[in-house]
Each structure stands twice: as C-alpha cells, then as structure tokens.
Amino acid sequence: MVSLNAKERMLRRAAADIEAGMTVNLGIGLPTQVLRYVPADLPVCLHSENGIAGVGPVGKPDRNLIDAGGAYVSPIAGTSYFDSAVSFAIVRSGRLDLTMLGAFEVAGNGDLANWMIPGKFTPGAGGAIELAQKTRKVAVLTTHTDKKGNPKILEACTLPLTARACVHRIFTDMAVCDVTPEGLVLREAAEGVSVAEIREATGARLIVPDAPLPVF
C-alpha cells in the first residue's frame, strides 16, 4: 500500500517536469492528478484526445464538454475544439511535448504495456498507442510494485505492448528512473527510500550513479 504522503510526493515530483509552454496530455487516473501540483500561473496547454486543446479545470458540468476520461471539464481563454482526426494529428505529428501515462508493466528499455491483459482485461487501447509512440517525451506514472508487491518495472514486458521503447522517464512512489541508451538509470529516490529497497522492488537491471542521489 502506498502512503498518501508517498503518492503526493510522486505527483508533485512529476508535476515539476511540466515546463512553461508545453503541450501536455495526461492519462486517466494518477496522471490527471498531477495537475493539482502544477503552478496555476504556468502557461501549459492541456490536450485531450476527444478534441480539446486548452482543457480547463473540472467545473460546472456542461453536457457537451468532457475530457477523454469522461470528466466534465471547462474551457479557458484560448481553448479550441476540433475533430478526432485533428486531435490525433496533434499527437502523431509530434506536437505533444509530454504525456504521462499509467502502466501495467514497463521495461528497462522503455517498452510499455498498459492496455491489455489477455483473458482478463481487453477493453481496447483507445488513444494510448499513439500517445505512447509519438509524444516527444513519454513519462510513466505508476506505483513501483503492484498490489501483491511484484515489480512493475521489468527486464522485459510479459503483456502485449502498447509501444516499443517509447518511455523516457518513470515516476513511482519510490524513485525517478530514466530510460537511456545505456539502460535504466536511477535518477532520484523518494524521501526515506534506500537504493537497496529500490533495487529490491525493481525487476529490471538498474544503473545507479556513483554520486549521491537527489531526494524528492
């Protein structure tokens, strides 16, 4: 079980990667919650697959204005609406600077599996495949282990892939890791979590720098 404190720390740390001027897509669930930790005055354009650039906060419900996750959102000054082909043109043509996605499994080489568990969960991928494959920077936001304590970061995914070698950064309740040409590199550790604990909870080979790790 992840403590509320650890979860908030993860969300706050992920939010720090959202920079001024970015166009960002946040997946359903944990990623959407990152928004709470983004400074209110930071210029950011939130994209939603169903045809919105400039998604505003959840507000007074308008029956015609949901985000891709079904939440009733609001427009802001500068919002635009468009059809689904244009929406994915934004994705595939590389206009998204950053996407944060959930994961069932993520591999040390950046492979991502987040849409299908054969025989158990096969609802269809929605827009995840294109978000994962085409966004300039793909971050995964996940608990470091599943509910049974098994690692979600693996040497190789066992589930059908969403996209190959697409993930650049992994935020968890325990660590921040980067996928690099050399392999998966531990960049930061959560407060109070040791490198040994992170290694123990990680199913992929993990490169740990010699220098002291920043703590988040």
């Binding site: 029956r63 949901i66 891709a68 991928a125 929605g126 294109e130």
Partner: protein
C-alpha cells in the same frame, strides 16, 4: 440559386437502413452520440449491422441499446471499457469486436471521406497491433497500410443545422462526427436546432452540406443527452 432542402422525418430517414448495413455513429462518450436516431434504429429493427463508433457508450445507453436488441453483428471501435454489457457479449462470443487504435480509427474514417484508398503509418509497427497488416516500405522506413473505413450510413448529432445540411457541433461533441459524415454513403443528422439558411456563418460550418443527406429537427432533448451523474 437556392440550396436543396434536406429536411426529413426521423422514421423515414432511418427506414432507409437495410439489414446488413454498416452504420457509423458519432460521439465520444455521451457528447455527440445520436441517441434519438439510435432509438429509432432499434424501433426500425434492421439486423446484422456493422456498427462503427469510437466507444460503446455505457451499459444501458446509446449503442448499448442496439447491442441489447441483438441488432449488431460486428462492432468496430477503439474501446469498450465503460460498457460491461459489451465486454460480456464479446467474451461470450455474442458480438464480434474489431479494435482499432483511436487515432487510426479516426484517420481511417477520414481517409474514406477524403476518397483515397488508405494511408501508411508506423503506428503499431513492431507490436502485435501490426500483425496481419499489409507492410509498405517507403525509403527504407517500414509502415503498415491502413485501409479507408467506409460505411453505408452515418448517424450524427449536431448542435445546429440548416436545411441544406451545413452543421455545427458543440464543444467536444464534434469528435468523430464530421469525419463520419464525410465517410458514409448516406449521412443522417439529428439537430438540436434547425436554423435558417445563412444563420450559420459560412466560416463556422463544421461539416459542409454536400456531405449531408437528411436533416432531422429534434423536438426536445431526452434526458439521456444530459450530464451523467456518477
């Protein structure tokens, strides 16, 4: 030179849909789903339909009415995760589901509307999503061919229409609607408001009239169009 009046009664329009037809339904969740046209299609009773829609709505509404009435042979969609009934029918073998990545679904539909045979993309290459697809190599880069997705009919919900079929969609209710209106051989539109010709500024038309065949004014909006309370 006046413009053709495409006003039509709902029953008359939906009666055009024969057994075995392929039917595109606009909408992404509730916004844009043509609930009244779907309801009429249930009443009409055409069977063995191929339905093309982004999602399968939630259980008990929209496309689920067609699933429950047993009129759907095949569903082409990007996800059905919010409709437990659709998942159950698929798992029981009572419904054939073809999953297409959301943006690829949108682009295959648009591609049909653009009158081309299909497009080539690297989306899914290297994963099982590309399996069985025709490979096209361009300048050494590998892509897969995604065929245009046509349909016999498109059923759309518009916020406003004029009698020639120029349409405007509200907010996120636009989604797949203009693409489907272009891709179908026959496009039927239910509109919350049918406005006089010229009342939609020519620059603000979201789907031009030449793509539209039948325009139906909705007398009033049933509750299903409203905000979903969860």
């Amino acid at each position: 030179m006046p413009m053709l009046d495409k006003s039509c009664g709902m029953a008359e329009a939906i009666a055009r849909i024969p057994d075995g037809a392929s039917v595109m339904l606009g909408g992404f969740g509730v916004p844009g789903t043509p609930f009244c046209l779907i309801q009429e299609l249930v009443r009409h009773g055409a069977r063995d339909l191929t339905i093309i829609k982004n999602d399968s709505n939630e259980a008990g509404m929209g496309v689920d009415w067609l699933l429950q009435s047993g009129q759907v042979a095949k569903l082409i969609t990007s996800h059905i995760g919010l409709n437990a009934n659709a998942v159950r029918m698929m798992n029981a073998g009572a419904l054939e589901v073809e999953f297409v990545a959301q943006g690829i679904l949108a682009e295959r539909i648009r591609s049909a509307g653009a009158g081309v045979m299909g497009f080539v993309t690297d989306i899914g290459v290297g994963t099982e999503l590309a399996e069985g697809k025709q490979v096209v190599t361009v300048d050494g880069q590998t892509g897969v061919f995604e065929p245009s997705l046509r349909a016999d009919f498109a059923l759309l919900h518009a916020a406003r229409a004029d009698s020639f079929g120029n349409l405007g969609f509200a907010a996120a209710a636009r989604n797949f609607s203009p693409l489907m209106g272009m891709a179908a051989r026959h496009t039927i539109v239910e509109a919350e408001e049918v406005v006089p010709l010229g009342a939609i500024h020519p620059e603000d038309v979201h789907l031009p009239g030449p793509f539209v065949d039948d325009v139906i004014a909705l007398p009033e909006l049933p509750e299903v169009y409203g905000v979903v309370e969860r």
